[in-house]
Amino acid sequence: MTKTPNSVTMDESAERIILDRGVQGLVGKSVARIEGPLKTSGRADYANDTKLDGAAYGFVLTSEISLGRIKAIDVAAARSAAGVLAVIVDHPLLPSDGSAGNASLKRVPRDLPEVDSYGQAIGIVVAESFEAARSAARLVRVDYDEREGRYDTTRHLEDVEHEPKGGLIPDIKRGDIDAVMASAPVTLDITYTTPHYFPAAMEPHATVATWTGDGVEIHSSLQLLKTARAMIAASLDLDLSKVRVLAPYVGGGFGGKTGTGPEVILAAIASKETGRPVKVALTRRQTAHLVHHRADTHQRIRIACDDEGHILGIGHNSIVSQKAGRSFIEPVSLGTLAMYKGEARSFTQSAVRLNIPVAGAVRAPGEAVGSLALETAMDELAERFGMDPIAFRKLNEPEKDPLRGSPFSTRRLVDCYDEGARRFGWDRRNPTPGEVRDGEWLVGMGMAAATRINLLQESHARVSLRLDGGALVETDMTDIGTGTYTILAQIAGEMLGLPIDRIEVRLGDTNLPPSSGSGGSFGAASSGSSVALACETIIAELARRMDVSPDQLVLKDGVATARNVQSSLVDLLDGDDIAAEGVIKPGKTARAYSQAAHGAQFAEVGVNAVTGEVRVRRMLAVFDCGRILNARTARNQAIGGMIWGISYALHEEAVVDKRTGAFVTRDLAEYHVPVSADVPAVEAYFIEDPDRHANPLGVKGIGELGNAGAGAAVTNAIYNACGVRVRDFPMTLDKILAGLGPV
């Protein structure tokens, strides 16, 4: 039997944490990923691993200019090459770019023959083999009418668009920051810059498309299936019912798969035209231009203080780049809005329009780069006051949201500072830079605060208690490495009193109930709540069958106990599954409470006094992100984020050729991400404080919190080690060396 959906809108805070009724002992524990055996044996099938008989191979054709118009394309040689099935360059539905996860777009851009960024899609070659398709693609000759474009943010800082349309946060001004800065006894006014960043997931975007009649099935690497399905349907002029999207395993997302890329649409077109299933994988180098990146930023931080270090005013005013005509604007000041005290507040994002590939959301949009500037500035100010950086932050810790005046749902930041300092051994830090030496290494410690807004999205799930005594969880949610399979199994097992090996979880298929998808760290809260709510309905039905109230019912190891009566769940099923749907929706608590996750990041580094080389020696963080669902996967996400912090501090930089508008750091040899040798001991701990204002589970997002503040902890440690403050990220050794004294 199927029950009516249990739908909860978060207009009121949860009276109790829904998971607390469970006695199975699964939630919060360190549970191994249930899909682990598949992933460690090569049996988890990612998009491009989809096995379909008779598949052909597509190779995406890309533009070799940044701005202009295609005059002609000569495909004769390519079409006659061995093994080539089709060269498609004039189909009316051809995409020119990806959606980059932009909700305001109805379909992927379709602007051909205009070219408006380097490496944009202009067509596709389809062949019997990958080798034949790639080879034929090189034979295509394109004749362009090229125009001069704008590629360099720094050259156009005087020509900005204020409060650009599509910004995630509006300009916010309270009080008069200019006046406060003019009159305050202690002020800081510094501009920090960060480069473009690639999400650089290990799995390059790939799609396998196949048609059955007038319906298309898309196996792809995507984070948000519901929106991708709508985008694909609109882009192919199809009814939504004709599109099925599958993504059971996704090889990392980091925001880069929140959009629908041109390869998805190209695969569908190519499959339709050739009557064959078609596989299209972007090459690593193509991902530089066909996947959105995080925009570069110029961040002016102004902080005014009284003589004791109380912040009187705070300004975080940024200029970011974006492709002309596109609307995602990196919300740089997002993490600053509610972070510290200060009556006068000014937060703005302005845009420089360039003719480079589109920018979009990458892991912790806003906080990831905003915290590099803000938390470095806080370190600089603390030193001016001769104060410990933690003491300076505590002095300016607000009791309520300093912008909106609303209460914090939960905010255990001070506890994170204290526990982090204790665990890290912060009291051993010498506050004077350059005094601690270990051979030719200068050693220093740094810290930074971390914050990431907490979100909830509408999400649906179906749970079925089955005749075999197990349960099935179904939702179109994705697991992009975040542990979704495992935490949903834990939640269902906890609620229904079943061991984890009795739970089957099916994800990543739009035939299943639509979920929040993965993004914005809202996945666990949203999809997890929907699963728990579905279980609640099943529990109510079981209670009815035992003639007790749900509160009287205790479920453990497949047995229901109430009033000294025991029954196996299988017996209670009475010959039919019980299926129920759960729905969670965001509501008024999102506005009534200021919701964020918090943390304190610590790093110890060595700076080579001769070469300026930086080696991170250890990192430690304590996070407050509500109830922890799985200690093992939570820690993994947290340390992964912290290592992104090392990366933003020291390694990553996507460089645009200012003459051509092309990214020159197109592959993993040129675009530097950390490897094992760059990563020392990294520890992450949690202060568990369930947030009943956030969602029925009491959880808050983890995935993006880890990288917030982490980079600044590293660069602040570099300053403590050697006295060099670099305000242009990444802090490569050439920049440090320039500030080091003679050996």
């Binding site: 191994a32 990923r33 899909e35 682990g36 598949l38 992933k39 460690t40 044996s41 090569g42 049996r43 988890a44 099938d45 990612y46 491009n48 691993d49 096995k51 191979y57 093994g83 083999s129 990958f130 080798e131 034949a132 080879s135 650089a200 997931a201 290990m202 799995e203 390059p204 395993y249 090889g251 990392g252 997302g253 980091f254 994988a281 090459t283 690593r284 992009i480 490495g481 975040t482 542990g483 093992r632 996967t633 820690r635 993994n636 340390i639 992964g640 984020g641 290592i643 992104w644 990366s647 592959d667 993993l668 040899a669 991400v673 950390p674 490897v675 094992s676 040798a677 990563v679 001991a681």
Partner: protein, 164 residues
């Protein structure tokens, strides 16, 4: 072309330009080995050739007709402790690099046993010992963007016992 892969002989008709990685993936449905960069930069395609780890994307299949090739699908009993250690230590998130990490770790252990030094080996004459520092250095050809590196090193150390 004829290949010996995971102990089985395969006759394959393939384009002469086919890389070993594409041979495995496109012709033999052995999709455990992944294409993360196709340039030998990320290590997701790592397989064992006569027990030694290589980036299969940088090898033409035609060059390896006389070799014993082992992929993640064929690591068998010898690979099981490493696979289990990866699960136990949560040494992955998305899992896309994992096949390559495990094959690389298995090959790396063989290199240590054979006494090969690494960049961080202090004494080139002494018996090589797999310390965590050695493991970090020797596993640095395998990128994990999820950055499960500390867990990967824990798993490798766990699976190799005392590191000898």
């Amino acid at each position: 072309m004829q290949f010996n892969i995971n102990g089985q002989t395969h006759e394959v008709e393939a384009d002469i330009r086919t890389s070993l990685l594409d041979l495995l993936r496109d012709h033999l449905n052995l999709t455990g080995s992944k294409k993360g960069c196709d340039h030998g930069q990320c290590g997701a395609c790592t397989v064992l050739v006569n027990g030694r780890r290589i980036n299969s994307c940088l090898a033409l299949a035609v060059m390896h007709q006389d070799d014993a090739i082992t992929t993640i699908e064929g690591v068998g009993e010898a690979g099981r402790p490493m696979q289990q250690a990866f699960v136990d230590h949560d040494a992955f998130q998305c899992g896309f690099c994992t096949s390559g990490q495990i094959c690389s770790a298995l090959g790396m252990v063989g290199e240590v046993k054979a006494g090969w030094p690494s960049l961080v080996t202090a004494d080139l004459e002494a018996t090589a010992v797999l310390t965590p520092e050695e493991a970090r250095e020797r596993m640095s050809g395998n990128i994990c963007r999820c950055a499960a590196y500390p867990n990967i090193i824990d798993a490798v150390m766990d699976a190799t016992g005392d590191g000898r």
